[in-house]
């Protein structure tokens, strides 16, 4: 059984014209199934860069990124999109919900891109997830009609939609108050046990 995440000597250099910034200098990392891992560090230390690498949003300058035993280091854009929607769930600092869609539709979003579900399956699944994060009464509300914490919970539900093997959360509590932040952390921890992510 391969590990969900395996990084081998990952280097990322940002080339800003005259200056080269080494954001990651040879990271080796293995995350096992069911493990949850927090990465902490000061602003600008490369946390986001690392998550982008794992999430297939960015290519490393050197090294290998292996997700579920699949090397995604040099994958095409199209295949990466597939990996992202099938294996990875993202939670961002700034919630990043589609403002034009309701909570329910936001959760359905990534399932829409997967060919195998029917419309009613997508709807049922999204409803179940909303219930899981305790927002079923908000299903028709737009992100602008919800509080930050609620938006983040929708984002979490969305991240779970395609039953990914990895959830990546980039400062999920960064934009809500402390108490809500704790709630979110607890929610993620619970989900970790429940869904064995």
């Amino acid at each position: 059984m391969s590990n969900p995440v395996e990084l081998r000597n990952v280097v990322k250099t940002y080339d800003l014209g005259d200056i080269k910034i080494n954001a990651l200098r040879g990271v080796d990392l293995t995350v096992k199934k069911g493990e949850s891992l927090s990465i902490m560090g000061p602003s600008g230390c490369g946390k986001t860069t690392l998550l982008n690498m794992i999430g297939g949003l960015d290519h490393p300058t050197e090294g290998q990124v292996i997700i579920d035993g699949i090397d995604i280091t040099r994958m095409s854009e199209k295949k990466l999109a597939r990996i992202r929607r099938e294996k990875i769930g993202f939670i961002f600092q700034f919630f990043n919900l589609v403002p034009m869609l309701s909570a329910l539709e936001n959760i359905q979003l990534s399932m829409n891109f997967v060919g195998k579900f029917t419309e009613s399956e997508i709807r049922d699944k999204a409803l179940e997830l909303l219930r899981l994060v305790g927002l079923e009464q908000r299903m028709y509300h737009r992100p602008t009609q919800m509080s930050g914490g609620e938006q983040q919970r929708v984002a979490i539900a969305r991240a779970l939609a395609n039953e990914p093997s990895i959830i990546l959360a980039d400062e999920p509590t960064g934009n809500v108050d402390q108490r809500t932040g704790w709630k979110i952390v607890r929610l993620i921890q619970n989900l970790n046990k429940l869904k064995s992510v």
Binding site: G55, D58, A81, R84, F92, M100, L109, R158
Partner: protein
């Protein structure tokens, strides 16, 4: 695939709804372009229809002989020779010219009433037809009579210039019943002799209409007549039609060209709107990519926005375009011109206009949508 499309349309619809004012302006741009194309093409189509049916009605002939400069210089007796050409069914000398009645330019035809009665089935709305030798009477077609506000027993003065002045007085004896479309019936009729007197050309005509038995003989008969009268202008009806058709094609081309310019402006509007939309929604694009949207998904979302805008613009443009024809008709009437351009709604024109709207919309949307599809997710997410 179908699901993706439906989903894209839903997002596009909301995006348009969210920026109502901007979308409305963009749609307005498309409406103006399409309305211009539809109204100009419909006017052109109406014009062509009118000219062709008028000709058909008036000539009804196989071959038409006319003097090259329009002056009455064909001796009347030529007709007798023409009638003897094998294949010729009948030939009628006539004078067709423009005169001024009540200071309005009007088409007048001088023709022997007996010949007309033998060839056409004519009915009268009011009054009666002309009698032979009744050289001071005139009959009008109903359209022209209405335009000039003339009724039976009126005395009218015909002059050859628009300035009025000395002319000849005629008594209106009849109004022709409108046959078929109203636009086919223009002008008025007097006897050939009266027309000759009017022009001071007794014994002459400027046109001889030749009816032939078998249309396939047309070319042959035309050649014979050309040999007989090398100085006259001889044309078969079909030729005349195709010549006029060519002129109409040019007019159509100019009209479509004018319409296309305004449509091009509309296209720029679409492009601008989609560009803005892409710019505003960079983060959203990054996020969509992060949750697994492929390039084509993003492309569809923005293309469908362009498509919706151009489709609505196209439909409304068609409606406003037809409305524009009404305005043009009203305008022509207000200028006091004795021209009626019929409004003929052609599904073909509407179809072409709608297709043009949608394809221009897609083309205008393609570049910004492509830009959106190629945005790199990391950059888009970092974007504030």
């Amino acid at each position: 695939m179908f699901k993706t499309l439906r989903f894209s349309f839903r997002i596009a619809k909301r995006s348009i709804g969210r920026r109502k004012f901007r979308s409305a302006l963009t749609i307005l741009g498309v409406i103006i372009g399409i309305a211009a194309i539809v109204s100009l093409m419909t006017l052109g189509y109406g014009m062509r229809y009118q000219i062709e049916t008028t000709l058909n009605e008036m000539l009804g002939a196989g071959v038409i002989i006319s003097s090259r400069d329009g002056s009455a210089d064909i001796p009347e007796y030529v007709q007798e020779y023409v009638s003897q050409v094998p294949g010729v069914n009948a030939s009628i000398p006539l004078i067709m010219t423009m005169v001024y009645i009540n200071e309005q330019p009007t088409m007048i035809v001088g023709i022997d009433p007996i010949e007309v009665a033998s060839l056409y089935h004519v009915t009268y709305e009011d009054g009666r037809g002309l009698e032979p030798e009744e050289d001071e009477s005139i009959i009008f077609t109903s359209t022209t009579a209405n335009n000039l506000e003339i009724s039976v027993d009126d005395k009218i003065t015909i002059s050859s210039t628009g300035l009025g002045g000395i002319g000849q007085t005629f008594t209106v004896v009849g109004i022709l019943h409108t046959v078929g479309a109203e636009q086919m019936n223009i002008g008025c009729f007097i006897t050939l002799e009266a027309a000759q007197k009017l022009l001071g050309k007794e014994g002459y005509a400027n046109t001889i209409m030749v009816r032939i038995d078998d249309p396939s003989q047309g070319e042959q008969i035309e050649a014979i007549l050309e040999n007989m009268y090398p100085t006259a202008y001889i044309a078969r009806e079909e030729e005349l039609m195709s010549e006029i058709g060519q002129i109409m094609d040019i007019i159509d081309g100019v009209l479509i060209g004018l319409g296309s310019i305004s449509l091009a402006v509309g296209a720029l509007g679409i492009m601008n709107t989609i560009m803005m939309s892409v710019h505003e929604r960079r983060r959203e694009i990054g996020m969509l990519k992060a949750v697994g949207a492929e390039r084509r998904h993003i492309l569809f979302i923005f293309l469908s926005e362009a498509l919706l805008i151009s489709f609505f613009g196209g439909i409304l443009g068609c409606i406003f375009g037809l409305f524009g024809v009404y305005i043009a008709q009203w305008f022509i009437a207000m200028l006091g011109l004795n021209i009626t351009i019929p409004l003929i709604i052609s599904p073909y024109i509407l179809g072409v206009a709608l297709m043009a709207a949608v394809s221009v919309g897609i083309m205008a949307g393609l570049f910004p949508s492509w830009t959106a599809a190629n945005i790199r997710p990391v950059e888009a997410l970092r974007y504030e």
